[in-house]
């Protein structure tokens, strides 16, 4: 899976709307030329706090992104907002082992 990641690795949420959109569109253009197809996912650089745009929905609608990845280290539960998908590194996963849901937990969970 190749996803849009902005063009110069800037925290998108800290940019003005016009600059944010330019970061995304420039990157999409470049990736489309290389891939011959337009990525439908976005992965936010830095992926946390103020780096995640407050208006995620607007951005995703404008650029037709179906999935947006953050770097928030947490489980993804059934019904997870696809525009705020969590991820974790191996280290973070190990740290959360004690919090793995029991089999009695009715919700299905996965690591993105």
């Amino acid at each position: 899976m190749v996803a849009c990641h902005g063009h110069t690795h800037r925290p998108l949420g800290t940019l003005l709307e016009r600059d944010m959109d330019a970061e995304v569109s420039t990157n999409l253009e470049a990736l489309s030329k290389i891939l011959g197809a337009r990525p439908g996912w976005v992965s936010f650089p830095y992926g946390r706090g103020d780096a995640i745009p407050k208006d995620v929905e607007r951005l995703c609608e404008k650029f037709d992104f179906r999935v947006a990845l953050t770097l928030m280290p947490d489980w993804n539960v059934a019904g997870q907002d696809p525009l705020r998908v969590c991820r974790m590194t191996e280290n973070q996963f190990a740290g959360l082992l004690g919090e793995i849901p029991r089999f009695t937990d009715s919700r299905s969970r996965s690591v993105a």
Binding site: P11, T14, Y46, G47, R48, G49, D50, L71
Partner: protein, 287 residues
């Protein structure tokens, strides 16, 4: 009189960067006493000089009210203090005892200018620097009439933060950490868990749950007649709407000027470097 706590906690950062919020969270920990700002670095007991423009007597009266301690007890405890550091030690002994806690934390934004003095006197101290998007800092200062010319702000921010961080690199990451305000308000648990470890504090959920504290706003109003905008905002629960206020509050022309001055002063590149280095998530390793 000996130092009751060899490992005190200091919080510093530029004005309007979230230092008060961090202190308020620490204050909720069952082991940490963290009263109002002391401006200890300006106090010179030998010359009877108190905090900025005050005599030592005036400062003691103010601190007695702020810390709800007996004025005479402070005078007696600090009578042989030869420096601001010794004065603070004595004051905090009283504070810790009165609060029935075991550690103390001092937060005055200017602490970031005195990292060298902190570690010269308290080699086992822990220092937490809080960093906020400097455009938000300027917007917040502007909103309370303290923004000043962008070039002055840009230079001052750069001097404070670059100097503090340089000293922080000297003392090392075991004793000096930086946290980002945006991370703290958006993900308090992700920030405060490692900070508790760094401070050698047992974990307490009180470090991440903030329902607002009104008592200090009322205390300062009663004591000084001043309505502290910072303490007033602390009377509300933890909120994230102060992140990115520059987009709403700074006029485009002012923003452009500010951005130019921040580039010139080196403040912007300092901020970007620290943003990369101190993020709560391991962003550098991640794609």
């Amino acid at each position: 009189m000996t130092t009751i706590c060899a490992s005190p906690i200091f919080v510093g950062g530029y004005f309007k960067s979230g230092t008060s919020l961090l202190r308020a969270l620490l204050r909720q920990h069952p082991e940490v006493a963290a009263g109002l700002e002391t401006h200890w670095f300006a106090i010179d007991p030998q010359r009877q000089v108190g905090r900025h423009g005050e005599s030592l007597d005036e400062s003691i009266a103010r601190l007695a009210a702020f810390f709800q301690l007996d004025e005479t007890a402070i005078r007696e405890a600090t009578v042989d203090a030869k420096s601001g550091e010794m004065f603070l030690d004595r004051l905090m002994q009283l504070h810790v005892a009165a609060q029935n806690k075991t550690r103390w934390a001092e937060k005055t934004p200017d602490n970031i200018l005195y990292v060298d003095r902190v570690f010269a006197h308290w080699p086992d101290a822990r220092f937490v620097h809080i960093l906020r998007d400097l455009r938000d800092v300027y917007a917040s200062l502007n909103n309370c009439g303290k923004g000043g010319p962008p070039e002055v702000f840009a230079q001052a921010w750069s001097d404070w933060v670059s100097g503090g961080e340089a000293m922080g690199r000297v003392v090392g990451p075991d004793r000096f950490r930086t946290v980002l305000y945006a991370d703290l308000v958006n993900h308090p648990a992700l920030v405060m868990r490692p900070i508790a470890e760094f401070l050698d504090l047992p974990w307490s959920p009180a470090l991440t749950t903030f329902e607002g504290q009104r008592d200090e706003f009322d205390l300062v109003l009663r004591t000084t007649g001043k309505r502290s905008t910072t303490l007033e905002s602390l009377s509300q629960p933890l909120f994230t709407d102060r992140v990115g206020v520059w987009k709403r509050d700074l006029e485009p022309t002012l923003l452009e000027t500010l951005q130019g001055e921040l580039e010139k002063s080196g403040g912007w590149s300092t901020y970007r470097r620290l943003y990369d280095a101190w993020g709560v998530v391991e962003s550098r390793e991640a794609v």
